[in-house]
Amino acid sequence: MNEREEIADGVRRIVAEVLDEPVGALDENPILAAHEWDSLASLEALAQLESEFAVTLDLRSFHAARTVDDMVDLVAQSRPAPTR
């Protein structure tokens, strides 16, 4: 699994958990607003994503994300460069 797929998997799992829906429901309709994506749910997802991937997300970009894919992009861009 490449890095992006790993991130995509983690993001889908966390968003689905927060929405209390199966991952499949997100695959069917990846538009976040189509689910119960209210401010409380989104902030819970924010906290979980930041903790899971050890990143800090920009709240404005986070709110601009419309789909699960946008969210994956955001996390991928925010990843700290691997240290050697």
């Binding site: 209390d20 401010s39 409380l40 902030l43 819970e44 924010l46 906290a47 903790s51 709240l59």
Partner: protein, 621 residues
């Protein structure tokens, strides 16, 4: 998962909290005591929040949970707090019905004393600095700031007082951290110090409300947060979502509110049952002797002494101490009486069970003797085997792990708050004296009265192999050190052991044990003369660490099979009583041997006898 498997997983710290709760909720039930015990230990706010949400199902059943109606009010977004609080309350054995007052109703509720959350038994008032900070303030005028904060504090206290007067519910509030952004706005050192001091007095006033109104319980959130390794505030969540506290801070608050709710519900525990070796002191008394135990002085001895001190302080507040140890009773009495660093002398314990019975059995007997239920017992032990055995047989006992770094022992004991009580009564202070008529159950018993289901769930594997040059030193060490399960007291040294191992007429074997809790290594050894037609056991020793699991019977089984395969007609052995080996007294008869004389026992190999218990697999090498 069976109850026994669950108990083993809990003791091994491998119980999956999420799936345990999910299974229970799917079946329409609250999680059982073992899953709840796991939940008490959970500190991850993400998981606690998810579990709390999962438990938000109407109509869950669970007989042993105490229902409690809880209302929550906050001048900000309550957010995850309700889920975190629900998880914490269920963990403590409470079945909460939670109601949150409408957003924005906080001021009105305080003004009118009407909380708008039905008829609660417990009202949690969440607070942040906004309750006390003036709407407009200037850091250039610290006196005006102080005056305004004091007025708002006075208004708040008056509101709490009238609220308390209008309800029978307990009101839980908490101390409030002064945000850095307020403190740092004051540029002058003197002014900043004045503001910080003001805030400390504010928190002290909140704490003192408990004095005026016994219904008010103030949790010291500020103090608790100092022990929480995460940020208290995420500015983004605060500005965007009106969430002044992070999930980690709210989880900590939920934990503290749980302690208050538990004390209010009368669920305070009354008994602390303590193990000895590697719990009240470092090291195994039976192996290192009273001079060898770690107690007092430098680390790690000081950690054990601090634990004794903590237990002593609990006792002064009415907690009854019970001693439960698999040990030789006389040696323990010597150590407790004679060791200069021991704080808990024999008379500190209202019930003493130094014996080889299962700990669950001892705790049950202790509770009966004290006239209390096993549900009022907290049990502290370093051995996962003992903890699992108790968790399996007596799930209502609160089991605490004493393994890991001894430096943490006092925290492990006190942090869950099992003994918290709203008020210390005269009865509490006198309770240990009332039980001064001390009971002693330190009789010898070699039986294993753990449930077979539990022993089966341990997946015990015994390996018996002939001594070789890598194991002979450990075998000789066991012979030298083992006093309790030592059949004849004969201690073959390394030279004798090596010589016997090399001789066809003898057999020396080492026994090692692996189970779900890990690899115990070589824990036993036997020395046998291979006579014709009778094999004679010269000695068999087994570390007391593995007693009570039937390992000795599996060793006997192995020996019988070896002898039979070699064509022997009988196996004979001896039990020679010493001052300390009562643990091994019944070994031969339990293994199916018959007494020939007082000391000699014999098994004729004419049948297919095999004493190996069905929960042990033996690997032969």
């Amino acid at each position: 998962m069976t109850a026994a498997e669950q108990a083993v997983a809990l003791a091994a710290d491998e119980l999956d909290l999420w799936s345990g709760v999910r299974e229970a909720v799917r079946a329409g039930r609250y999680p059982d005591p073992r899953v709840r015990a796991r939940l008490v230990r959970e500190r991850d706010p993400v998981l606690l929040r998810r579990v709390g949400r999962l438990l938000d199902r109407p109509g869950l059943t669970g007989d042993e949970l105490r229902p409690i109606r809880v209302g929550v009010l906050a001048p900000f977004t309550v957010g995850p707090f309700t889920d975190l609080l629900r998880a914490s309350l269920v963990a403590a054995g409470l079945a909460p019905a939670l109601r949150v007052a409408d957003y924005g109703s906080f001021d009105l509720a305080l003004a009118t004393g009407e909380f708008g959350v039905g008829d609660p038994e417990l009202v949690v008032l969440l607070l942040d600095e906004s309750v006390f900070l003036p709407d407009r303030w200037s850091a250039a005028d610290v006196d005006d700031f102080t005056g305004q904060v004091q007025r708002r504090l006075a208004d708040f206290c008056a509101a709490v007082s009238s609220g308390a007067a209008g309800t029978t519910a307990s009101l839980v509030l908490h101390t409030v951290p002064l945000p850095a952004e307020v403190r740092d706005t004051f540029l002058a050192w003197r002014d900043r110090a004045a503001v910080t001091a003001l805030w400390h007095r504010l928190n002290a006033t909140l704490l003192e409300l408990s004095h005026k109104h016994p219904q008010v319980l103030t949790v010291d959130l500020v103090g608790a947060l100092a022990d929480t390794p995460s940020a208290v505030r995420d500015d983004r969540l605060h500005r965007y979502g009106d969430l002044p506290y992070t999930d980690a801070a709210l989880a900590r608050l939920a934990h503290e509110v749980r302690r208050a709710a538990q004390a209010r519900a009368g669920l305070s525990r009354k008994v602390l049952a303590l193990d000895l070796d590697n719990t009240l002191w470092g090291g195994v008394l039976g192996e290192v002797g009273v001079e060898g135990i770690a107690l007092g002085g430098l680390y790690p001895g000081n950690a054990y002494r601090q634990l004794q001190l903590a237990a002593q302080r609990l006792r002064e507040q009415g907690v009854i101490l019970v001693l439960t140890s698999k040990n030789d009773a006389a040696t323990v009495t010597d150590a407790l009486t004679g060791h200069p660093e021991v704080l808990l002398r024999p008379d500190a314990f209202s019930y003493t069970a130094v014996n080889w019975s299962s700990k669950a059995e001892n705790l049950r007997e202790a509770a009966t003797h004290l006239g209390l239920s096993t549900g009022s017992v907290v049990f502290l032990d370093d051995s996962p085997f003992e903890r699992g055995q108790v968790a399996g047989a007596l799930p209502e006992v609160a089991v605490l792990p004493a393994d890991g770094d001894p430096a943490r022992l006092v925290r492990t004991l006190l942090e869950p708050g099992w003994f918290d009580t709203l008020e210390l009564t005269e009865t509490d202070r006198r309770r240990p004296q009332m039980y001064r008529g001390r009971a002693d159950r330190s009789t010898f018993s070699a039986g294993f009265d753990s449930s077979h289901a539990y022993l089966r769930a341990l997946d015990i594997q015994l390996t018996v192999e002939p001594a070789n040059r890598y194991t002979v030193a450990r075998i000789a060490q066991l012979a030298a050190r083992t006093n309790q399960f030592n059949l004849t007291g004969v201690r073959f040294d390394q030279a004798e052991t090596s010589a016997m191992a090399a001789d066809d007429g003898h057999l020396v074997a080492s026994c090692s044990v692996v189970d779900r809790f890990g690899d115990e290594g070589i824990v036993g050894a036997l020395w046998v003369r291979r006579g014709d037609p009778t094999w004679e056991v010269l000695n068999l020793v087994l570390s007391c660490r593995v007693l009570g699991r039937g390992v000795e019977l599996a060793i006997a089984g192995w020996l019988v099979r070896q002898a039979r395969a070699a064509g022997a007609r009988a196996v004979e052995g001896r039990y020679v009583p010493t001052t300390k080996n009562g643990a091994a007294r019944d070994f031969w008869t339990t293994s199916g041997f018959a007494a020939v004389t007082g000391e000699r026992f014999r098994l004729d190999l004419d049948g297919t006898e095999d004493p190996t218990p069905d929960w042990i697999t033996t690997k032969e090498q």
